[in-house]
């Protein structure tokens, strides 16, 4: 108990048992709190470790246990997993489909996105922040099944009526993904343009350069590593997107002859076939091998982003 005898003694009185108790209690609470946060991070690390381990062990057993050759899997074009005598596990058409739809959509989306970022950062910051920014934020928020549904009801019929065929094709998938990754590339590019030192622009204008000259000779080259980071993030999103793509590409399991042919991607095969297979079969394991490719690709994308990040840091110095 504290007895307040004199004003000045109030706090000193506490320096007895009571204070000791609170001191100990505070220290215990502080270390519990600290180790709680440690365990949260440890938990996240464990998730990735487990995830990588389990997907890798499942995915690798196609080659190690079931004896499918890696070469046949990666480059074979025949996918007949349920053939009675000679099942074939060639996934090349799906790998090709994933890369095709990713690269095409990124090359369509990048000019649009960087253009939008430049519009917001340089051309008209006012209407950029009032209209375009909310538009971009809303585009991020639209769920991928909704994109798929719109693709199905708008883009696919459009393709069918304009170019013939079923309309379910590589081009439809590309268009859907182009819109889906647009906000990613735009917002990263916008941030990097905004972060450029103001002196850079002023110096260029002072030399008599026009706005366009300033943008493409000074601003874009300086912000390039960060813009590329945005592009890679967009690629990662496109490569991993499952449902929106699966809904519009037709899911025919062979190599396309043109962009108006129906295709399959790694994600579309996984979406459609995973629940039809039995765990432990070669068929099932081959699907896990595809999941492993997706996982490895996201490691690769992160690796590229890290390298780009180092590049932009070196530039700052």
């Amino acid at each position: 108990m504290i007895r307040t005898t004199r004003e000045n003694d109030k706090v000193k009185d506490v320096s007895s048992l009571n204070a000791k108790y609170y001191d100990t209690k505070n220290k215990i609470v502080a270390s519990i709190g600290k180790y709680y946060t440690y365990s949260c991070i440890f938990f996240s690390i464990m998730i990735i470790t487990f995830l990588t381990y389990f997907i890798a062990s499942k995915g690798l057993s196609t080659f190690l246990k079931d004896g499918v050759s890696l070469f046949d899997f990666l480059l074979g074009t025949e996918w007949k997993p349920e053939h009675e005598n000679t099942p074939k596990f060639g996934a090349f058409a799906f790998i090709f489909g994933s890369f095709a739809v990713t690269l095409l959509s990124v090359s369509l989306s990048t000019p649009l996105s960087v253009g939008a970022a430049i519009f917001m950062a340089e051309i008209s910051p006012k209407s950029g922040s009032r209209f375009l920014q909310p538009v971009i934020e809303l585009l991020v928020g639209i769920p991928s099944v909704v994109y798929g549904f719109i693709g199905l009801s708008v883009i696919v019929p459009f393709m069918r009526n304009t170019f013939g065929g079923t309309g379910f094709c590589l081009a439809s998938g590309t268009l859907v993904l182009t819109i889906m990754i647009l906000p990613t590339i735009t917002s990263v590019s916008y941030d990097s343009l905004k972060a450029l030192p103001g002196g850079l622009k002023d110096a260029s204008y002072a030399l008599g350069a026009t706005r366009w000259q300033t943008i493409y000779r000074v601003l874009i080259p300086t912000a390039l590593p960060s813009i590329l980071t945005g592009v890679v993030l967009g690629m990662a999103r496109a490569f991993g997107e499952a449902l929106a793509v699966q809904m519009v590409i037709g899911n025919v399991q062979r190599l396309p002859n043109s962009i108006f042919d129906s295709i399959s991607t790694l994600t579309s095969i996984l979406t459609l076939e995973m629940s039809n297979t039995i765990a432990g079969t070669t068929y099932n394991n081959a699907l896990w091998s595809m999941a492993l490719i997706l996982l490895l690709m996201s490691f690769i994308f992160i690796f590229i982003i890290r390298i780009l990040g180092k590049g932009s840091k070196l530039n700052e110095r």
Binding site: F54, S144, I179
Partner: protein
């Protein structure tokens, strides 16, 4: 070509791009709302779906979406905030921190279908939870965790260092300083970010198809015993969410009004996501006002 003319042309192109993107969004939203709203009625919002005939609703799916979201946030928020506190306050420049940062980056770039498949393997099969809300919530937690960590870390890093110093200088522990001084200041950022995270989880489907499942048992909304198989709040029952239902209707829907149902369900989904978006802005503004008001 004259540089002035080039400059003009470039400006026109940039304006065109901005207008095209805006038109795309306006087109998307109006398409969904025009197509979808006509099919929305009280019955549609409350009735269960039909397998073969027309006239089904999405009542259980809407409920599933919200209940799953609730479970997900229950798992995600404590771990995400803990991880964010570690990254912002306790991490030292060493190998563990580097690994943690890499892990957060990898987690946030994982395709959601990979998360779903991992959930299928671990939660559904190995841990025996089956296709259930619980499995789905755990999968969505993996999906949302990195975002939550990052939001917390950024919000804490934005707290003025003077506040932290003032507390530490009085001999108050780092933990108490974080909880009593820094977190309240970081709260608006954390709440805004959390609501955005929730919106993302609400629309997610690929991670849920293989974890929460693509069907729902017939639900009895008068049965609130969480252990009963047809109770809506039983966390161990399969539960197709609105987003998963939209995919299913589009891909395998057999009812004659499948198109209309997909459109209306999309309209409901979009409305919810827009609502989350609006809410996060509103809450952010309100809290900001409250904290800065005299």
């Amino acid at each position: 070509m004259n540089v002035k003319v080039t400059d003009k042309i470039a400006t026109i192109i940039f304006y065109t791009i901005a207008i095209v993107i805006t038109l795309i969004l306006v087109g998307l939203l109006s398409f969904i709302l025009v197509k979808g709203l006509s099919g929305i009625s009280w019955g549609f919002l409350t009735k269960p779906p039909e397998n073969m005939k027309a006239g089904g609703g999405v009542g259980p799916q809407i409920f599933n979406s919200f209940f799953l979201l609730f479970l997900t946030m229950l798992f995600t928020v404590p771990v995400g905030i803990g991880g964010g506190i570690y990254m912002a306050e306790y991490s030292k420049p060493n190998i563990v921190t580097n690994i943690a940062r890499l892990v957060i980056e990898v987690l946030s770039s994982l395709p959601s279908i990979v998360v779903g498949l991992f959930g299928l393997l671990i939660f559904v099969q190995k841990m025996g939870m089956g296709f259930s809300l619980f499995s789905g919530a755990l999968a969505l937690m993996i999906f949302n965790l990195p975002l939550m960590v990052r939001i917390t870390e950024q919000s804490l890093r934005a707290v003025p260092v003077e506040q932290k110093e003032a507390s530490l200088a009085m001999g108050i522990s780092h933990w108490k300083t974080i909880v009593s001084i820094m977190l309240p200041i970081a709260l608006p950022g954390i709440i805004t970010g959390t609501i955005l995270t929730a919106g993302r989880a609400f629309g997610e489907a690929a991670a849920l198809m293989f974890t929460a499942g693509m069907s729902s048992p017939p639900l009895d909304f008068t049965n609130w015993n969480p252990l009963s198989a047809n109770s809506p709040i039983n966390p161990f029952r399969p539960a197709a969410t609105l987003a998963v239902h939209i995919w299913k209707v589009n891909s395998e829907g057999l009812t004659p009004d499948a198109k209309q149902i997909a459109a209306s369900a999309s309209a409901v989904l979009i409305t919810c996501v827009l609502f989350f978006n609006l809410l996060s802005r509103l809450v952010g503004k309100l809290i900001y006002k409250k904290f800065t008001a005299a």
